[in-house]
Subunit: 319 residues, 2 copies
């Protein structure tokens, strides 16, 4: 993946764009007399503390993560990262990732890129090895999907990137009734498939996880294939790469991966089990209200709003 | 600071809140037939690559960071963090921070908290040492300020937390024409003054920097005093604390601070100099348009929108 790469020499239109936006935004000096905004936060006092909502959520407020969708990356240093795959959003890429895991594609590979406030990236470029049997070399651009019929739960607050944002079956989603499309949002800990320039979509052989403020500009521009549900904090503190885009400049800096497996391929006795809160449950609704209206002993002013990436869907490891 | 601390035992209202939000959000199953949203992104093709806008910005598109507002934290490991203070937003807290720096308050202190996707925190609690002369022990709650007359630049896109968001003199700000107040937003790299429970506002003796997705719930709940303009990436990779809220569990884990000084107090020859892009300049308008409409060789679909924390105000070190 090369997010952030750009063709240079487009500066000629800078003034035009600049004046255009200034006009669109109104004269700053007259801003305080601008017409009232179309949205006002409606703070709620006494919302339930999110940790209490999670702690008290009944058993039916949770769904299990299927072993076929649970990707386990074990680093050489002994740490583990657990990723839930999203086959309903990127079926061909997820099928590739399963096939790659079963072929040991990432065993002995490395994390080779850490860009501050952006992504951690790992894997093996497709060009560097023959693809295992069953891996589609040029998957379709699974960047969004049809909206019709999806039981989406609107977050209930404005989104800065899309007409609507909310959740579907435990996943953060944005959508447009106008275009009839829905897509996963690039929130903290979301996982995508690295790619080069279009029409290449990547096979899934190189993956990245978001480690900073949500880079929503990637939405609909790359295949989002899952989410780190455990162990993101073993990825976020890794040394930032000093090369362009945070790439490690020499292989001695690489962070070795011991193996990547699907939970479904581990002996049942050794399989970890995770659950994700059902985003269509009353517990999740209370959780969102609590996140959007923090209170308790510390907070004095509930925001009355929240963005899709600041209400991460609760997950838990079954022990 | 104890963000995230909550009084427990409020779960009784969970169902009421849950059903309330579900009602407010409408029946998810009928969502795709819901009325059209009040906002639609308006993508722009061929926007100028943000790096080019920064590179080509004229001299008058930049303002200098005043040495009185430039706080330099030197860690024992030789790394440096540069913070611009925001006296227009938190004058008493910033005056305290200047007095504390001049008294060597943080010399030999430590970073003692790193909470993943949240904050890095350092300093000395007011209770652990006599306050230097001139430091106000109980500053006013400088959490927001009067909106009237401020030459705010609206970002031009919806905000999930406030009626309006944009910039003022290089700072990310949200505001409400209804309440007549404006406040700094807790974006990545923003710096705040740790506090205990209200009415305590903290003196500035303990500071934190945001290292994850913008925790906007802190807006208007704590004194935001500045922004890391250089060296945030020396804070973000620090080991996450294993104690509650990311506190290091023993002092051996602390990260030592050698000294913290104001640039104004350094010999002129050794003072670093920084500049911040003027947020009322055409260059900044072009930068925001570029960030909201990524293109070039990699991006196929410009978002047509962006949130206040995903368009960080450009800064540069003068050499």
């Amino acid at each position: 993946m090369r997010p952030g790469m750009w063709k240079s020499g487009m500066a000629a239109s800078a003034i035009l764009l600049a004046s255009g936006l200034v006009a669109a935004c109104g004269d700053a000096s007259s801003e305080t007399t601008a017409p009232p905004p179309s949205w006002r936060p409606t703070p709620v006092s006494g919302a339930v503390e999110p940790a209490d909502t999670i702690k008290n959520a009944p058993a039916d407020a949770w769904r299990a993560v299927a072993p076929e969708n649970l990707l386990l990356m074990d680093l050489a240093d002994g740490s583990r990262v657990a990723i839930e795959l999203a086959p309903d959003f990127a079926p061909v890429h997820v099928a590739n990732i399963r096939a790659l895991a079963r072929a040991g594609w990432w065993d002995g590979a490395a994390i080779y890129r850490v860009q501050d406030n952006y992504v951690v990236q790992w894997g093996v470029n497709e060009s560097k090895a023959p693809l295992p049997k069953g891996v589609v070399k040029l998957p379709p651009a699974e960047y969004d999907r049809a909206l019709a019929g999806l039981p989406l739960r609107p977050l209930g607050y404005p989104d800065s990137y899309a007409p609507l944002a909310g959740h579907l079956d435990g996943w953060p989603v944005a959508w447009s009734p106008e275009t009839g499309r829905a897509w996963l949002t690039h929130c903290y800990a979301m996982v995508g498939a690295g790619r080069d320039l279009s029409p290449d979509t990547g096979t899934g052989g190189e993956l990245y996880a978001v480690i900073g403020h949500a880079p929503r500009q990637l939405d609909r521009n790359i295949a989002t294939v899952g989410r780190v549900i455990d162990g993101i904090d073993t990825l976020t503190p890794r040394p930032r790469g000093t090369g362009a885009l945070g790439f490690y400049e020499n292989r001695a800096q690489d962070i070795a991966i011991r193996q990547v497996r699907l939970a479904a391929d581990l002996p049942p006795a050794t399989r970890p089990a995770y659950e994700v809160m059902r985003t269509d449950s009353p517990s999740f609704a209370a959780y969102v209200t609590g996140r959007a209206n923090r209170g308790g002993d510390f907070f004095d002013v509930p925001a009355g709003g929240i963005d899709i990436c600041n209400a991460p869907v609760p997950t838990r490891k079954k022990v």
